[in-house]
C-alpha cells in the first residue's frame, strides 16, 4: 500500500531496498538492456557528440575549400556529399537527438517528479533505432556514395535519371529509419508529460521546459509523416518505377518541394523550441526569480509550432506560384514572428528585473538571445516577398539559418551542458575555462556567419564548391573560414573543460544553483530510482516552494499516473525494467532497411516478419497494474 510520508524522513533500509529493486545489471549488458531514462539520455548524449564532430568536420573541410577562390582542396563530387551530409547530420543526427534524446530523456522525468518515462522499453528502442540509422547513413559516406543532392534533395536532380547511384537511396531509407526513432520519442514525451507528472502538478505548474518539449513533440508527430511520405514516393520512383515526381507521366516536381517543406518548416521550430525550454530553465535559476509572463511564454511555445505548420511555401517563393498564394504564406510568416518576440522580451525582462548571475550557463543564454534575435530579424525580412526572391538560395539564407540554428539551438545546448553538469556528474565544472569557451565560441560564430549576409547580398549562391575571384567575395570567405576554426577552438575548450571537470572538479552537492525545479531536490547524480518519495507539487517552482509531503512507493518498479490536466493521482503503475528486445528489434529493422537498400525485397519482407515476432516476444512480459 502506498504510504504518504514527509520528505527527507526516509529510513536507510528503504533506500537500500529501492536501490536493489532499481539498480541496473552490471557492465555492458546493463547498458544494452537498459530502460532507465538517465542511461538512455547519456547514450544519446555521447552518440550525438560524435555525430556533431562528424558534422563539424564536414563543415570545416567545406570552409577550407571555400577559404580561397578556385580552390582544389576537394572536387565537386566530394563537396556535394559533404554539404548534404553536413545538413542531414546536424539536423537529424545532432540537434534533434541531443535536445529530445539526451536532454529530454534525462530531465523530463526528473522535472515532473517521475521515476521514468511512460514507456521505458520503447524509449530504449528509440535510442537503438537512432544509433542504427546513424550507422546506416554514415556507411554511405565511407562507401563514397553519400547523399549528394543537399539535405533537401529536390527532384528531378534526386531522381534515378540524374542520380543513378545509391546515394539518394541511402538518403530515403536513412531518413525514414531515423524518423521512426523521432516519432516514438515524440509519442513518448506526449504521454509521459500528460500522464506521469507528480500528484498536484497541474498543467499550469509544469515547468516551461516540459511545455517546450510537449510543443516540439506535437510538431514531430504531425510533421514527420509528410517527410516519410515524400521519401517513400522518391524511393518508389527510383526503384519501382512509379511516377509521383515524373512530369512526363503526370507527376509533379513541385510535389516533392511542397511535402518536404510541410515537414521542413515545422522541423525548424522543432529544432529550436526545446532549446527555448533549456533557456527558460536557466534564466529563473540564474536570476533567482520567477520568469516574467510565465503563462504567455507557455502559450507562445505551443503557438509557434502550431502556426509554423502554415508557412511552408516561404521556402518556395521563387518557383513560380501565383502571387496570391505567396501573399498568403507571407501573412502566415508574419504571424509566426509574434510568439517568438513574446518569448524574447519575457527572457530579457526576466534578466533585467531579476538580478542576473552571469556565470557560464547564463552567458550562453545571453549569447543565445543575441544570436536568435539577429537571425530572427533577418527572418522577418523574408516576410517581404520581393526581397526573399532576391536572396533565397544565397549565402544570406545560410547566414540566417545558422544564426538561428547555431545561435538558438546550439548555444542553449552548450549552456544546458554546463547548467546540468553538476546534477548529472555530481561535480561543479571549472568556471573560468567555461567563460573563455563561451567567448571563443561567440566570437567565432559571429565571425563565421555574419559575413555570409554580405556575400549573399553580393551574389554568392549556395552549394557552390568554388567561386571566381574578382566578385568581392574573397576576403569575406577567408574571414568566415577563420571564424570556423575559432569556433572549433571554443568547442574543444568547452568539451575539454567538462571532461577535466569530471575528473578533477570538487563535488557539487544536490543543489548548487538553488534551482527552481524538482531535479534539484534529489542527489547529484540522481539515484537509479530518481525519487525515494514521489513529491507532491503545489507550485510551478517546487524547489523554491516545496510541499510538505509525498508518496512513498517502495514495492517493485512503481510509478504514479495522474489525470492529464489537473494532475490528480490516477493510479500506481508497475514499470518494466531492463529488456533485451529493444536492441534486437532495432537490429531487425536495420536488416529490413539494408535489404531494401540493396534491392532484396523478399529478404526485407522476411526480416519484417522477424521484427513482428520480436514485438510479440517483447509483449510476452506484462507489467502488472495494481
Amino acid at each position: 500500500m502506498a504510504v504518504v510520508a514527509p520528505p527527507r524522513a526516509v529510513p536507510e533500509e528503504t533506500l537500500d531496498r529501492l536501490e536493489r529493486i532499481w539498480e541496473s545489471r552490471p557492465g555492458l549488458l546493463g547498458w544494452l538492456t537498459t530502460t532507465d531514462h538517465k542511461r538512455i539520455g547519456l547514450l544519446y548524449f555521447w552518440t550525438t557528440l560524435v555525430l556533431f564532430a562528424a558534422g563539424g568536420i564536414e563543415a570545416l573541410v567545406m570552409r577550407t575549400q571555400l577559404a580561397e577562390p578556385n580552390s582544389h582542396v576537394v572536387g565537386p563530387n566530394t563537396y556535394d556529399q559533404l554539404f548534404s551530409m553536413h545538413g542531414i547530420t546536424m539536423i537529424f543526427f545532432f540537434i534533434i537527438p541531443m535536445t529530445t534524446g539526451a536532454f529530454g530523456n534525462y530531465l523530463i522525468p526528473l522535472m515532473i517528479g517521475a521515476r521514468d518515462m511512460a514507456f521505458p522499453r520503447m524509449n530504449a528502442l528509440s535510442y537503438w533505432i537512432f544509433l542504427a540509422s546513424a550507422l546506416f547513413i554514415y556507411t554511405s559516406l565511407f562507401m563514397g556514395t553519400a547523399p549528394n543532392a543537399g539535405w533537401f534533395d529536390y527532384v528531378p536532380l534526386a531522381s534515378k535519371q540524374f542520380n543513378p547511384g545509391r546515394n539518394i537511396d541511402f538518403y530515403c531509407l536513412g531518413i525514414i529509419f531515423n524518423s521512426i526513432s523521432s516519432t516514438l520519442t515524440a509519442g513518448q514525451f506526449i504521454v509521459t508529460i500528460f500522464k506521469s507528472r507528480a500528484p498536484g502538478m497541474s498543467l499550469n505548474r509544469m515547468p516551461l521546459f516540459c511545455f517546450a518539449f510537449l510543443a516540439a513533440s506535437f510538431g514531430l508527430l504531425f510533421a514527420l509523416p509528410a517527410l516519410s511520405a515524400d521519401t517513400i514516393f522518391l524511393f518508389l520512383d527510383r526503384n519501382v518505377g512509379t511516377h509521383f515526381f515524373d512530369v512526363t507521366h503526370g507527376g509533379s516536381a513541385l510535389l516533392w518541394q511542397h511535402l518536404f517543406w510541410i515537414f521542413g518548416h515545422p522541423e525548424v521550430y522543432i529544432l529550436i523550441v526545446p532549446a527555448f525550454g533549456i533557456a527558460t530553465s536557466i534564466i529563473p535559476a540564474f536570476t533567482q526569480r520567477k520568469l516574467v509572463a510565465f503563462p504567455l511564454v507557455a502559450i507562445a511555445e505551443l503557438l509557434v509550432v502550431f502556426i509554423g505548420f502554415g508557412v511552408w511555401a516561404h521556402h518556395m517563393y521563387a518557383v513560380g506560384m501565383q502571387t496570391i498564394s505567396l501573399v498568403f504564406f507571407a501573412a502566415a510568416t508574419a504571424m509566426v514572428v509574434i510568439p517568438s518576440t513574446i518569448q524574447v522580451f519575457a527572457w530579457c525582462m526576466s534578466l533585467v528585473t531579476g538580478t542576473a548571475i552571469y556565470k557560464t550557463p547564463l552567458l550562453f543564454i545571453g549569447g543565445f538571445i543575441f544570436m536568435f534575435v539577429t537571425g530572427g530579424l533577418t527572418g522577418i525580412m523574408f516576410v517581404a516577398i520581393p526581397f526573399d526572391q532576391q536572396v533565397t538560395d544565397t549565402y544570406f539564407i545560410i547566414a540566417h539559418f545558422h544564426y538561428i540554428i547555431f545561435g538558438a539551438a546550439v548555444f542553449p545546448i552548450f549552456g544546458g551542458m554546463y547548467y546540468w553538469f553538476p546534477k548529472v556528474t555530481g561535480k561543479l565544472y571549472f568556471e573560468l575555462p567555461g567563460q573563455i569557451s563561451f567567448w571563443l565560441i561567440f566570437v567565432g560564430t559571429n565571425l563565421l556567419f555574419f559575413p555570409m549576409h554580405i556575400v549573399g547580398l553580393l551574389g554568392m549562391t549556395r552549394r557552390v564548391y568554388t567561386y571566381p575571384s574578382g566578385l568581392g567575395w574573397d576576403a569575406y570567405n577567408m574571414a568566415e573560414t577563420i571564424g570556423g576554426f575559432v569556433t572549433l577552438a571554443g568547442i574543444l575548450l568547452l568539451l575539454g573543460n567538462l571532461a577535466w571537470s569530471y575528473l578533477r572538479a570538487p563535488a557539487a552537492g544536490p543543489d548548487p544553483w538553488h534551482g527552481p525545479t524538482l531535479e534539484w531536490t534529489t542527489t547529484s547524480p540522481p539515484p537509479d530510482y530518481d525519487y525515494a518519495v514521489i513529491p507532491t507539487v503545489t507550485s510551478a517552482y517546487p524547489n523554491w516552494e516545496p510541499a510538505a509531503a509525498g508518496l512513498m512507493l517502495e514495492r517493485d518498479h512503481e510509478q504514479v499516473a495522474v489525470t492529464p490536466v489537473d494532475g490528480r493521482l490516477s493510479e500506481i503503475v508497475r514499470m518494466p525494467h531492463e529488456s533485451p528486445w529493444p536492441p534486437v528489434l532495432a537490429l531487425g529493422l536495420a536488416l529490413v532497411f539494408i535489404s531494401l537498400l540493396i534491392g532484396r525485397y523478399g529478404v526485407a519482407g522476411i526480416m519484417g516478419i522477424a521484427c513482428l515476432l520480436v514485438l510479440a516476444a517483447w509483449h510476452s512480459q506484462e507489467p502488472q497494474e495494481q
Binding site: 520567477k290 509574434i338 522580451f345 528585473t353 538580478t355 553580393l458 549562391t461
Partner: protein, 324 residues
Amino acid sequence: MVLASGCREQQDSLAPKSHQARDIASLFWWMMGGAWIGLALVVALLFWSWKRRSRRGFGADTEGPKPGEKQGWYTVVGLGIAMPIVVISTLFVISDLFVIKTTQAPAGTTTKLTVQVTGHQWWWEIRYPGTSAVTANELHIPVRTPVRIELTTADVIHSFWVPQLNRKVDAIPDKTNVLELDADAVGRYRGQCAEFCGLEHAHMSMYVVAEPRADFDRWLAAESKPAHTPSGSHALAGQRIFLDGACSSCHTIRGTSASGYVGPDLTHLASRSTIGALTIPNDPSDMMEWIRHSQYVKPGNKMPDIKLPGSQLREVVAYLEGLK
C-alpha cells in the same frame, strides 16, 4: 588558369541597375535600419541586465513577487506583441501588396521583347522567338526596354538570377516561369544559376548584355544568320575535323551538317566572351585547354576530354574562333 573576371565585375544585389532591383534594394536598406534598431534594443536590455547583475549569488530570497514584475508584463505585451504587429504589418503591406507589383511576372502586354531561356546541366540555352537566333550563356537585350524572359529547363531545376536587374526565378520541368528584365543603363550584368543542379552548379553563370537598340538589332540579325564559311586552309581543315568527328553529334552549327543538342549551339561561338558558362575566357589558348581538358576545367561536365594531336587541335580552334 585565367578566369572570367573582368575588373570591377559584380553580381551585387545592392548595386541595382533596374527599377525592380532598386525597389528591392531600398526595401532592404529600410529593413536593415529597422533590424539594427531592434538588435540594439535587445542588446541594450541585455547590457542593462548585466549592469544590474547580482553580487550575492545563489540561495537569495526567491519567494513571492519581485519588484518590476508588472513592468515586465507591460514590456512583454508592448514590445513583444503590439510593436511587432505594427512593424511587421507595415512591412507586409508595403512589400507584399505594393513592391511585389513591380517584381512579379509581367502581364503579356507590357513587355516589348521575349527571350526564351532554357536551363541545362550546366549551361543556358537562349532563343529569340520569331528569329532563328540561338546562343548560349550570353543574353543580349535592348537597354531601357521591358523584356520578357520565359524560363524553363531541359533537365533538373535551375534558377535564373541576375541580381542587379531583378530577383530570381526557378526553372521547373514542364513549367514556363516568366521574369521581367528592364536594364536602366548600357552594361554587362553577371548572373548565376541559383538552384543546386548537380556537379557543376558552381560554374553555370551567364551575362546579360544591355545595349542601345540599334546595336541590339545588329547583334540579333548577326546571330540569326547561319555560320560564316571558314576562310583560310587552317579553318577549313578545322571544320572538316569538327564535322567528321564526335563534335557534331553534341553541338549544332547552323548552316552545316553539325546538329546536336547535348551541348550549346556554336554557330556564333566567337561572338561570346566566355566558354563553359563564364568558366574561362574565350580566347584561343583557353579554347584549346577546354577541348583537351574540359574535365579538368569543369569536372563532371558533359563534354569528354577530346584527345587531338596539337596540329589538328589548332585547326579546330582556328575554325571555331572564326564563327563570329
